[in-house]
Structure formats: structure tokens, C-alpha cells
């Protein structure tokens, strides 16, 4: 605890930490101070001068956003003098602001509008002609109405400090300053955070522009369905249609603050997309078409076929595959179905890699995103969080830029985050395991350094940095590690030993929104990997029950053998390569249409809430499984309530013990699952295995020297993201159209090459 000091605000004495920011202290104690440019955890701007206060012994009014409290400070936040100054500031802000709130997308939730209600004058004294500039597009995602800008520069600061992109800046000067870019076109990761933090209607969501007014929308707080960071967002829906996703703090206050990435913010149009599967579908004979059916028919048909296969070939003829994209409830229902209805252990989840080695050997808690922001040392082995887990990427960047953390990156690719790294260690492709070996001790430095293609001294330096860390040290790792290496890394905190003042935290970087949940539920530490399970097709395996779709790496090359199976049942949103093989397809509800939970890469169990009723005849995955079970004479007892499923999860899964939906209600206080910590394990075997692996390793491919383009992963049009028409445009290189006055989407109508094609499965 830092030193406590006393400040007097409007006659009340408060104790506060030394170094606290005055504006925060005022607000904390209920003394409202208006502001525009102040934004916590961004560099100070002090340009709007709305936050003026009177501080005794200081000449003139002071901007409370730039003042740190000192002992004995006497502050007044409300007086005639202050109000006069603030009213004058609003008058200046409005000098060039158009009176077009009725046609402005931000109208109704605009900070400027609200401020004017409180501080604005009735009459406008500026009679000069206002600056005028037409509304235009800065990119397929960002529309821009320059005249509404009040130059608070929140947008330029988030672009620089959160995203490290510096894509948007303020050009010109004085009254003619405008927010923009060189050449008038935004080539960035299109996160849209500038839109979110803009207090006015200057930067606008181009995909939602002129679609709805904020007060028509029912906002529902939920968890993003894309990556494993689990950002909290609020879906705005109008009569069964999701119109937008925002993280604006008036609607939601989660681990991500107002941060979202392009997928979270813009990739929601798949929810109401016309290609959603509308009814259950049955393929009555091999090679035939999928024919629409009623739910009763489809469930009855599937149950009958399953019963017949079970009777003829036994329980182990079934394989059940869950998905790291589905809720814990859906995956749990599948597991229960496999064990209790079918009676088989043939289940798994279609994730790209298993976190089991990490969790089995976990010897330090998982780092939350807040922990990362305030960490002192961050070690990133493999992975590319800026593209695959953007919130983690942003937290790392801020930890370095705003918190002075020491970032060490081991990667074979010069990823963008390297710009922030104190040490970027460019290693040979495929040698990530050697990093773990080196971190675990000095014995193998020669070997490790040789394969990594770095100097042994570099490795010793990193170990020293780890040794000297005071405060939190976060270890992040991507998918590149082998099982033995992942296990050893999870044990590293034990291997390095405890020391006063240093705390180790682990942060895995799985790909999907519920990879960790799928693991926790138990689908991933099953005896079979997806590949092993599928390879049994044609031998023991006769039927598959798949929720979601298989990843291309699992599916490709196996289509023929899978076609030989007696029965494939798939639950999906869209027709995919997997449904092409299916005998029965059930239309599943998307994350926006269902209740449930996702567990993110920090182990936080967060709520998914129903924003709209399921589209067409879709049903939540766990309900479909329960219906199937009941057709097979097994009552799951879920009573059509997701919370009942979750209660059962909490009773059966140790890490979720005691959790209930009401405990997960507050998104601003996410609850971490209690993953059991393993004590010190003997890792000699694992280390031996890594050593052997490295010794036999042939480093042949060269290290890429070019930093991959921004968006090379983010923009990949997947099954879901390709339903946003702007994604293919970005994927095609985000060309600047000849005119920026109309939607850049018009290019798609002229150039068929820019139209949607799905290249990445899964997403």
C-alpha cells in the first residue's frame, strides 16, 4: 500500500493514495467532474479543459486530469467561477460543431450531447461560418464526419498506445485541425477502437451507419465468440436482429474496457445471415441431398439410427466431437451424452492443440489480462497475440509503454509486438522447445543456442532477467510447443523456485473462445485426439456426432473414409465441408441466441447471454443434445434451462466448484475457475524428451525476416467472419477506392475478386 495522504474536496476530507490523479479521486467520491479528453490509462492530453477545478494556493483554475494529489490539497469542484469557465469551453467546442444530431449515429449516446445538456448555453454567440467537410469513409469499417470532431484525440491515442499502429493522427492546426491519415485511407488492423472511444459522432461504425438509433436497440452484455481472450461486449439488437457490437462503457464494463478487435466489433453479421441453416436436414440415402425435416422427424430419425448402430456394433462404434467454439454447457451436454447415453469414452473436441500438458502441470496461477498490464517481466514464446489474441497483445503493449515492463519475445517470425520488446530473440523456425529447455536451466545452453540460432549469452541474459524480476512475471506461450515443452513451461515457476517479491503467472494462447473451457469440461484430456478418433473410421468407428465443424487440418484427406461411416450427425450454423458429409444436420443457435458460459485464456468463466431468440428453427447446442438423449430414453433433467446445465457442471468439474450464474453476473468482476495447482513435479523425463527432440532436430528452413502484414490472420475470411462483406475486401488488401464518399463496399459489385470466399475454417 502506498502512502496515504489527505485531500479536501468541496469541504470534505478524503484519504487517498499518494500520486492518485485528482480527477479520479473527485469522481470516486461522487464529485462529478466533466471531461472529454481524459481517458484513464492513456497519455494525458489536457486539451478539452472541461475538468477545471480551483485548487487553493494555485493561480488560475487547474485541469484536474493532469494534477496528482498532494497532501493537504484543498480543492473546489463546483463554483460560479468554475461553471462559467466550463460553459465557455463548451461554447468553444460547439463553435464548429454542426447541429445535426438528428441524423448522427451517435445521437442519443453522445458524450458531447450530454455535456451540452448540462453545460451548454441556450444561444450560440459565434456567428462565423462553420468549417465544413463532407462525410466520408476512412476504410471499409470506419466512416468519418470531420466537422463533428472536438479534438480530444482519444482516437489517436488509442491507435498509438493500444494498437501500436499510429494509423490515425491529427493533421493541420488550430481551428482547421482534422483527424485523419496520410492519403485519406486507413490501412490498419481495423479494430474500430477509435470509433468506440470517440465521444462524438466523428468516427462511425461504417457497418452500422444509418441502420438504427441507439435507443431502439436492446443491449445485451455477452462474451465475444472469436478468440480466447474473451472480451466482454454488448450486442445491440432490434426485433430479432443484431445490429452492432460495442464495448462502450455505458453498456458494458469488462476485462477489455472499451477495447475490441475487428472480429469482436464487426464480425457479427453472421448471426442474422441468410445462409444460416434454417431447419433440421436429413440425407436419407448415401449421395443424396440434405432434405429439410421437422425437429421431431430429425431427432426421431437420428435416435433410431443411433439405436440400431449401438445394437449392432456396441458403444465404441460412436465418436463424439465437441468444439472449442461452443459454450461449456454445450460441451458438457455432449460429454454427458457420450458417457451416460452411449457409454463410450470416444470423445474429444476439435481444437488445434490440447492444453492438457499445461493444466496437468500447472504450477502457477493463470495471468488475467489485468495482471499482464501490470506485469514487470513478460516472456512470450511463440504465438502472435496481436493477430490471434488481440486483447493480450494490447495488454502486453501497454505493460511496456505505459508500465515500463520488460518484454522478451522468442519467435521465428519478427512479429509486430517486437517493436515493444526489450529483447526480440529471433529463433529458427520450429525450435520453440529449445527455449523452454534454456529457460529451465543452463545445462543445455550450448545445444539450445545452437538449434535456436542465437548466442548462449542471450539465453543467460533472459534467465538473469527472470532472476532479477521484482513483481509479476508472466510466461505466455503459443501453439508451437510440444506436449513435453508445454508441461515443462507450466512447471517453470517450480523449477526456478519461489523468491520474495516475485510472482510467476502463466498465460496460454489457445486459438478459440472456449478452448480452455473445452479442456476443463474434460473433452480435451480424453484418451483420443481428433486425428486418432477420425483414423478409426472404417475400423471400429461407425458413427460420428459432431457439434460445430471439423478443422480443415483434421478433415482434409479423410473425406473418403468418413463417407464410409454409417451415420454422421452435425450441429452447425452454416453449411460447411463437415455438413457436406453429414446424414443429419441440426441448425444450432449462435452465441447471440443462447445462454451459457465461455472460459477464456485467463481461466475466467464469463457469461454468454441470449440477445435475440434463435433464428429460424435453430436451437442451442445443449438443447439439441438433451433432446436426442431423451429420444434415447435418457432424461438429462436440464428442464430447458442453461443454468441447470451449469449447476451440474459446477457439481462435476472441480475447477468450477461452487459457481452459479448469479455469481458470474457482474462482467466487471470476472470469476477465475479454480484450476488446481500441481506442486513440484519431477521434470527430468520431460526435459530428457525435449533434449532428445532438439538433438534430432534438423533446422533447415530459414527465418522469415519480414514482419507479417497487419491483419494477415485477423482478416482471413472464415466461416463466420466472411459473412461480414467487408472482410473479403480487407483480405484482398484493403484497396483505396477511387471515391471515399460512398461505401467502399461498392467495389465488390464491380470486382468479383473482392467477393466473399472462405479461406480459414473455424472462424
Amino acid at each position: 500500500m502506498a502512502d496515504l495522504i489527505k485531500v479536501t474536496i468541496n469541504g470534505n476530507v478524503y484519504e487517498t493514495e499518494k500520486g492518485a490523479r485528482l480527477i479520479d479521486v473527485c469522481r470516486e467520491h461522487g464529485h462529478a467532474v466533466p471531461s472529454f479528453c481524459y481517458y484513464s490509462d492513456l497519455a494525458l492530453q489536457a486539451s478539452c479543459r472541461m475538468c477545471l477545478v480551483r485548487i487553493e494556493k494555485m493561480p488560475k483554475l487547474q485541469t484536474s486530469c493532469t494534477i496528482t494529489c498532494t497532501d493537504g490539497m484543498i480543492v473546489t469542484t463546483e463554483s460560479e467561477e468554475i461553471e462559467k469557465a466550463q460553459r465557455a469551453m463548451v461554447e468553444f467546442l460547439l463553435a464548429n460543431h454542426p447541429l445535426d444530431c438528428p441524423v448522427c449515429d451517435r445521437g442519443g449516446e453522445c458524450e458531447l450531447q450530454e455535456m451540452v445538456f448540462d453545460w451548454g448555453g441556450l444561444e450560440e454567440r459565434f456567428s462565423e461560418r462553420k468549417n465544413y467537410a463532407p462525410e466520408k469513409f476512412l476504410s471499409p469499417m470506419v466512416a468519418n464526419d470531420p466537422q463533428r470532431c472536438i479534438l480530444c484525440k482519444r482516437c489517436t491515442r488509442v491507435c498509438d498506445e493500444w494498437m501500436g499502429e499510429d494509423a490515425i493522427e491529427a493533421g493541420g492546426r488550430g481551428a482547421h485541425t482534422v483527424i485523419g491519415t496520410y492519403d485519406g485511407w486507413l490501412n490498419c488492423s481495423e479494430c474500430g477502437n477509435c470509433i468506440e472511444v470517440c465521444p462524438t459522432g466523428t468516427l462511425l461504425d461504417a457497418t452500422y451507419r444509418h441502420q438504427a438509433r441507439p435507443w431502439e436497440l436492446a443491449q445485451t452484455i455477452t462474451t465475444c465468440t472469436f478468440c480466447s481472450d474473451g472480451c466482454q461486449l454488448s450486442l445491440g439488437a432490434r426485433v430479432g436482429e443484431v445490429m452492432r457490437a460495442v464495448a462502450r462503457d455505458r453498456y458494458v464494463d469488462g476485462i477489455n474496457g472499451e477495447f475490441l478487435c475487428i472480429k469482436g466489433r464487426f464480425a457479427h453479421p453472421f448471426i442474422n445471415h441468410e445462409e444460416r441453416i434454417r431447419t433440421p436436414l436429413i440425407r436419407y440415402k448415401q449421395g443424396g441431398r440434405l432434405v429439410p425435416a421437422t425437429w421431431d422427424d430429425a431427432i426421431g430419425y437420428t435416435a433410431a439410427r443411433m439405436r440400431a448402430i449401438g445394437e449392432a456394433h456396441g458403444a465404441d462404434a460412436f465418436g463424439i466431437i465437441g468444439s472449442p467454439r461452443l459454450t461449456n454447457e454445450a460441451n458438457y451436454a455432449l460429454l454427458k451424452f457420450a458417457r451416460e447415453v452411449i457409454g463410450t469414452e470416444n470423445f474429444t473436441a476439435s481444437d488445434a492443440f490440447s492444453l492438457a500438458p499445461c493444466f496437468e502441470n500447472l504450477s502457477a496461477p493463470l495471468a488475467t489480462h489485468r495482471d499482464i498490464r501490470f506485469a514487470k517481466t513478460i516472456i512470450l514464446v511463440g504465438g502472435e497475440p496481436e493477430e490471434l489474441q488481440p486483447l493480450t497483445g494490447k495488454q502486453i503493449r501497454q505493460a511496456v509503454r505505459n508500465g515500463g515492463a520488460r518484454l522478451v519475445i522468442f519467435n521465428s517470425v519478427p512479429i509486430r509486438l517486437k517493436e515493444q520488446a526489450a529483447q526480440f530473440i529471433h529463433i529458427n523456425p520450429g525450435t520453440e522447445d529449445a527455449v523452454v529447455l534454456a529457460l529451465a536451466g543452463a545445462n543445455d545452453d550450448e545445444l539450445a543456442a545452437g538449434k535456436l540460432g542465437v548466442e548462449a549469452k542471450t539465453l543467460a541474459d533472459v534467465r538473469r532477467a527472470l532472476d532479477e524480476t521484482q513483481g509479476d512475471c508472466v510466461l505466455l506461450f503459443g501453439s508451437e510447443l510440444s506436449a513435453a515443452a508445454m508441461a515443462t513451461l507450466a512447471q517453470l515457476p517450480q523449477l526456478l523456485g519461489a523468491r520474495e517479491g516475485r510472482r510467476f503467472l502463466l498465460h496460454p494462447l489457445p486459438f478459440y473462445n472456449n478452448s480452455v473451457g473445452a479442456h476443463d469440461i474434460g473433452l480435451m484430456n480424453a484418451k483420443l485426439s481428433v486425428a486418432q478418433l477420425l483414423d478409426q473410421a472404417g475400423q471400429g468407428l461407425r458413427a460420428l456426432y459432431i457439434a460445430g465443424s471439423l478443422l480443415p487440418e483434421h478433415l482434409r484427406g479423410r473425406e473418403e473414409t468418413l463417407r464410409q461411416l454409417d451415420l454422421i450427425v452435425v450441429q452447425e450454423l452454416f453449411e460447411t465441408e463437415t455438413t457436406a458429409l453429414a446424414d443429419v444436420v441440426f441448425p444450432a443457435a449462435s452465441f447471440a441466441e443462447t445462454d451459457g458460459t465461455f472460459t477464456n485464456n485467463a481461466g475466467q468463466v464469463q457469461r454468454v447471454r441470449q440477445s435475440i431468440p434463435p433464428v429460424h428453427q435453430a436451437r442451442p447446442d445443449w438443447m439439441i443434445t438433451a433432446a436426442l438423449a431423451s429420444a434415447l430414453n435418457a432424461d438429462f433433467g436440464f428442464q430447458l434451462s442453461a443454468s441447470a446445465v451449469f449447476r451440474e457442471i459446477a457439481e462435476h468439474i472441480a475447477a468450477y466448484e461452487g459457481l452459479r450464474y448469479p455469481l458470474l453476473k457482474d462482467e466487471s468482476r470476472p470469476v477465475q475457475a479454480k484450476h488446481a495447482l500441481a506442486g513440484a513435479r519431477d521434470m527430468t523425463g520431460a526435459i530428457q524428451e525435449i533434449r532428445a527432440r532438439i538433438q534430432s532436430m534438423n533446422v533447415t528452413s530459414a527465418r522469415p525476416t519480414e514482419t507479417p502484414k497487419v491483419g494477415h490472420e485477423l482478416f482471413k475470411p472464415g466461416t463466420l467472419t466472411s459473412k461480414t462483406p467487408q472482410f473479403p475486401l480487407l483480405y484482398a488488401g484493403n484497396p483505396k477506392p477511387p471515391t471515399v464518399l460512398v461505401s467502399p463496399l461498392y467495389q465488390i459489385t464491380v470486382d468479383a475478386n473482392l467477393r466473399a470466399t472462405t479461406v480459414a475454417a473455424g472462424d
Binding site: 497519455a43 498509438d160 499510429d166 494509423a167 493533421g171 520488446a421
Partner: protein, 189 residues
């Protein structure tokens, strides 16, 4: 504002202009190196303005390849160059004429008749403030106070001050420019 761009930590490729990058003669490169040498490497963005003047002297204005060159040499992003360039009236983000006539429009000059001077110039040159004549000779601008208020009204051609203006004086200057025998007193850096 960005911080900490270290030379051994180059920016990602895509943040720079991937297209053409300006090239300069060894003499000019040496001049630029000279400016960069004045600052510690991690503060080399401080050389932004001198570099802009040089690029503009060599290429007439800050065209795309020129901007790309500056961004590369200084390890900043093109938006940073854009931000700085647009702040200054003497940095050209559009092609500018050989003679840049900048008339002060701030209070002292305004009171002393800067309005008439501007009107006169506009009429003679056939262009409005902010425009460049078709022959590429003249650019006319109205700028903020140039710090010569005691001798208002005033204008600047290139970096030369012309003070206590009358329309006759203005005509003399413009005539000299039009004939092509105007001598710049202050050389561009």
C-alpha cells in the same frame, strides 16, 4: 505521440509506404546525414523539419516518395510525417509555385490593411489564397503572424520578409518574380 523507436528495432514493413521511395544525390544524402548526426539515434525524429525542407527543396513539395523517404530515415510512420507536415504553412503537401507569397492575416497586419494586400495579389495573380497559378510560378497563402507586427502589413516570399507594404511595393515584388529576376535573400536550408 509515439515513443522509443530504436534504430535496431525497425518498424514493421507495412507501416511504411510500400511504394516508391525518393532517392537523392550523395551530396544531399550527406547533408541529411549531417542533420541526423545532430541528434542521438533514438531521438532522430527531431530532424523531421530539416529533412522536410530538404526534401521539399529537392522535389518541389512533400510528395509520396518524399514522405516515404522521411518516414524511413526517421523510423516513424507516414501518419506522423503527415501530422507534422500539415501543421506548417511552409511545408507543402501539395505542389507549390516557385514563389510562395504568404500574406500575414493576423491582427496587426489585418488592421494595417492586409485585406487589401491579399485582394490585390489575388487580382494580379488571378488566383485565390491557397491556390497555385497555372504556370506553376506563384502560390498565394494567407498565414498567421510572422512576428513582424511592428512593420505591418507584411508578406513573405519564400523566407524573405517584405514589410510596411503598399500595393505599389507589392507590384514591384510580383513584377520581379514574374520577370524571373527576383533574388531570394534567404536561401532555403
Amino acid at each position: 505521440m509515439s515513443q522509443q523507436f530504436l534504430p535496431d528495432n525497425p518498424l514493421p514493413q507495412e507501416a511504411k509506404v510500400p511504394e516508391e521511395i525518393a532517392r537523392f544525390s550523395p551530396a544531399v544524402e550527406a547533408e541529411i546525414d549531417g542533420h541526423l548526426a545532430k541528434y542521438p539515434p533514438e531521438r532522430r525524429r527531431s530532424a523531421m523539419l530539416p529533412l522536410m525542407f530538404i526534401v521539399q527543396r529537392e522535389r518541389g513539395w512533400l510528395d509520396k516518395p518524399g514522405v516515404a523517404y522521411i518516414a524511413n530515415r526517421l523510423g516513424v510512420r507516414i501518419t506522423d510525417v503527415w501530422e507534422t507536415a500539415t501543421f506548417y504553412s511552409m511545408i507543402y503537401t501539395k505542389p507549390a509555385g516557385k514563389y510562395h507569397v504568404q500574406i500575414c492575416k493576423t491582427l496587426s497586419c489585418k488592421i494595417m490593411g492586409a485585406g487589401n494586400i491579399t485582394e490585390h495579389c489575388a487580382q494580379r495573380l488571378g488566383i485565390k489564397p491557397g491556390e497555385t497559378s497555372a504556370d506553376g510560378k506563384f502560390t498565394l497563402s494567407e498565414v498567421e503572424c510572422l512576428g513582424s507586427c511592428g512593420t505591418a502589413p507584411m508578406l513573405q516570399v519564400g523566407f524573405d520578409f517584405h514589410e510596411n507594404l503598399t500595393t505599389e511595393k507589392v507590384d514591384e515584388i510580383l513584377d520581379a518574380c514574374a520577370r524571373g529576376d527576383y533574388k531570394f535573400a534567404v536561401k532555403v536550408r
